[in-house]
Symmetry: C2
Subunit: 93 residues, 2 copies
Amino acid sequence: MSDDQQKLARYAKALGHPVRVYVMQLLGQQSCCYSGDLSEELPIAKSTLSQHLKELKDAGLIQGEIEAPRIKYCVNKENWSEAQELFKTFFKI
Amino acid sequence: MSDDQQKLARYAKALGHPVRVYVMQLLGQQSCCYSGDLSEELPIAKSTLSQHLKELKDAGLIQGEIEAPRIKYCVNKENWSEAQELFKTFFKI
DNA sequence: TTCGTTGTTCGCAAAAATACGAACAATTTT
DNA sequence: AAAATTGTTCGTATTTTTGCGAACAACGAA
């Protein structure tokens, strides 16, 4: 069980929920977003959304920047690239 | 939250554990494998491994074929291709 | 038919994920 | 300073995941 397999599993796990996939896909289209934007579109409680964002942050896929009184979320490009590479290799693309 | 996002999340979830990534990666190199082969290489109980294989089977990523007294596991090519496409699009490769 | 091999299923336990509302904190607006 | 906005954290409950050993089932071999 290699290090890359561990990392891939970690990223996959973070993407293992529809809400989190949705968020990442949105951040692919528009570079940033705010929790409030998401909250309007998604049928979940704010606290639940916050937890999903935390999961993505903990996995390293996104990062938050304070822009008072809001928080601007963006893709963590470095880790996103890593995930991209890992999945690319995994699927032998 | 689209259907594709649901599917992607489902596949990602199935790949969200190192053991399961390991199994899929092995099946990428050699077309098939037996539970016994994996059991020797992985530091987990047979019953635990069996559960992980069931997860991959339930997600549609692998399929088992009886080859008494063993079970031959292979990649489910159709679903694997689907997953491949979904991730490809997701990562904009 | 009895034994051995292979792998699943069962029963259990502990940990993690999911989800919600209420309370809280930080900052801006009034 | 008071009120409004934004989003996190807390407390709680439910469900799912992970893991093990023991028991079981299916089949081939002796």
